[in-house]
Symmetry: C2
């Protein structure tokens, strides 16, 4: 069923392009879905991708533009005139069109907009460009089917036929009053099953979920997921219907949010992909490593303070990486669960009850691990029981500390409006490493008295 | 717009339940969305949740059942008779109904199915229960609108009205032949804009994406995302239309997959939430910590081998946690990018070219960090230049090693059909810790000759 890029296809295309056999290129790609053509283009040299783009007709190219990696899209757009871009844009729905135009440099933006043929379309796009890209306004499209509460089903169906010409997928039929204020919705089912003479006012469903135009995109995603919506109308401050958001746009938001949290947990601070340039990957990765390095400096200092213990208890220094690693691992686990709970809005109870729960959890986990440590260090590492017990006690304390910090920090960050996912990954590992080492040596010193 | 659970509401409900004022409970919840009622019930004692459930009418309760946390749902279902459960199930769409029945103990399953009123519905549910829950068959529902290619638009609309009675949302109209084999689709737009006498054969779109009933759910998610589909028909081995999957079910798949990868990266091996019991959280967290502990034992052993160096170069032992932490962090970064690339099917090029890129990247990052280390250790830690340079050289080697391992392992795991996300988190941190320490001391020994 699904298309897979083959080496043969790529080589054949490259050959045909080199020989300038446009007709054969088109034949080869005729049955291929535009999302797949975009993928193929991403695998080729720029001039080859541009060749394919120019060979295809504009119905397909507009959709391909949307699916291309941004990097390739920029190159293609650069090779086109403002008028040519405008022709592509004219084929796209308002939200997609606005997304593409938003990527253009300022001067080109205006050129392209002035070249748009459909004035209504252009007006809609300009309106959409006003909104923040991470808000409901930035996600919504203007294509929707709406009817006036004062019409009857017959007028309504007639009007809808006209409106539907501009709408690829009819999700919901929104009902508005004379001032364009959202009143409710008609289901498609109602449309299929009600007699044509019924007045709309009598049959519409007055309860309809909606979001404000300035709502955050993650908030919209949460609402649509929670209430299982496929589309949601967007209203302005006066309750007027200004657009609609469909679930496919929300899928992207959910995916991006999840990817971002995952990357932060792994110490990657920007949205990058494996195929990005080395420079971009470095920008995303180096800052956290530098942070970890400076954290490491602190741990070197702290260990230096305990140098006198080296002669009497060298084994403490052998255990340090183990203690630090456990502190880091426990901290990441605790914070990840909290970050995910916050992201899914599934965190109930007070901060205090959270910490209490984490305390019990870490007592349980910590005790099991401490016992394993005593047994393991006696039998596997030939460490005497006394030292083993002291190290275990330190391990238990460190685990408790790490899990409380891991729970506390993301909740507090979230309270102050900072992305709690920042607290995961290298940040929590590094700070817990240091804390772990300090606690470990303090406890050892207290018991061994060096 | 959105509902937030308030302490006042909970307290009021608890009071009303205690006083057995059912009517007032109902009034309080009348305007509340079922997803929100489910949330409220999740915050209450079992007997209170059961009280609310019994007070509401079955149209609402069926939807609430779906939205409840599994834990609460199990308790509610236990309090109901097989006949009562069957009444709830009768209200649900086939895919949701099958999901709920699948959660019941075997004997109850059969009881409930035998109590179902609608025989067609029951047959559909029994069919769905046959499929693996992670396959297309496990995701799909039986509710769809299909028409025969031999009909005309008028017959079609009539038949559709009848079918639409059982379908809440009409996504697509599928066209089949006399043997129920999927031929194509009719868009809703076509329905609204075509004259009623046209034969279906002339107007349907013969190209329609579909998935096989045994396709994996993540594969279905990828296809629907890639091709921007809101619904996809499911066919059996003979090409017969057996169901459809809608994008809202896919949203859950995407979310779950992302959550799972995130948790694995954080060293949590099972799908848990912050609100799960301490025992369940321990089961998800302890295994990775035990792994890390045993990894720690190895590092203790390795360090013990270098004990003779302690008197001459104690500073090496101060640097060990820093080196281990950097190895861990770099490894997690590298593997996370690969895991995400694999999950999004966005990894191009061979393993060799990947490793080559990672090598350049780690050379760049590693050199910057090594220089920072020389400067930092001289000015901040009073370490002499010679030792600083040796430690930096070791750091650079460790970073290169860690990033190559981080790239290599997930790609190889994926090749052998093992979830590459397993390679992130504590697994990569622990193995890189150990490797880092070994490389660090080997290099130090080679240069310092202790």
């Amino acid at each position: 069923m699904e298309f897979k890029i083959s080496k043969e296809l790529l080589e054949k295309l490259e050959f045909l392009i080199q020989e300038n056999k446009e007709q054969e290129v088109l034949e080869l790609l005729q049955e291929v879905h535009f999302a797949d053509i975009a993928e193929v283009m991403g695998e080729m040299e720029s001039h080859e991708a541009i060749y394919i783009f120019n060979a295809l007709d504009s119905e397909k190219t507009a959709e391909i533009l949307l699916e291309l990696d941004e990097e390739v899209r920029v190159k293609i757009l650069r090779s086109l005139s403002a008028k040519e871009i405008a022709e592509e844009i004219d084929e796209l729905s308002t939200d997609d069109a606005a997304d593409i135009i938003a990527e253009l440099p300022q001067s080109r933006k205006e050129e392209v907009i002035s070249e748009l043929e459909d004035v209504e379309h252009a007006k809609d796009i300009v309106e959409l460009l006003r909104y923040d890209e991470d808000s409901a306004g930035g996600l919504m499209g203007k294509e929707l089917v709406k009817v006036n509460e004062n019409w009857n089903v017959l007028t309504c169906v007639k009007e809808m036929r006209a409106q539907a010409e501009n709408v690829t997928r009819v999700h919901s039929i929104y009902v508005v009053d004379d001032d364009n204020r959202l009143k409710g919705r008609l289901s498609l089912k109602d449309l299929l099953t009600t007699s044509t003479k019924t007045p709309i006012r009598d049959i519409y469903i007055p309860k309809v979920d909606s979001v404000k135009v300035d709502a955050e995109n993650v908030e919209v995603a949460r609402i649509m997921q929670k209430y299982d919506l496929e589309a949601i109308p967007v209203i302005d401050e006066l309750g007027r219907l200004v657009g609609r958001i469909t679930i496919d746009d929300i899928v992207d938001v959910i995916k991006e949010e999840a990817d971002k949290d995952y990357q932060l947990a792994a110490g990657i601070s920007q949205d990058v992909e494996a195929d990005d340039s080395i420079l971009e990957l470095t920008k995303a990765r180096l800052p956290w490593l530098v942070l970890a390095l400076f954290g490491g400096f602190i741990s070197v200092r702290v260990l230096g303070l305990y140098e006198p213990a080296m002669n009497i208890h060298p084994e403490l220094f052998f255990f340090t990486p183990l203690i630090a690693a456990m502190a880091g691992n426990v901290g990441v686990q605790s914070s990840a669960i909290i970050v995910q709970g916050l992201a899914n809005d599934a965190l109930s109870g007070s901060l205090f009850s959270r910490l209490l729960k984490e305390l019990s959890l870490s007592l349980l986990n910590g005790t099991i691990l401490a016992i394993l440590l005593i047994i393991g260090s006696y039998f596997l590492l030939n460490i005497d029981i006394k030292t083993g017990v002291i190290v275990s006690l330190a391990l238990l304390s460190v685990i408790i500390m790490a899990s409380l910090i891991g729970t506390f920090i993301p909740i507090v960050l979230d309270k102050y409006g900072i992305d709690p996912a920042l607290a995961t990954g290298p940040f929590i590992t590094t700070s817990n490493d240091i804390m772990g080492i300090i606690i470990f040596f303090s406890i050892a010193k207290a018991f061994l008295g060096f």
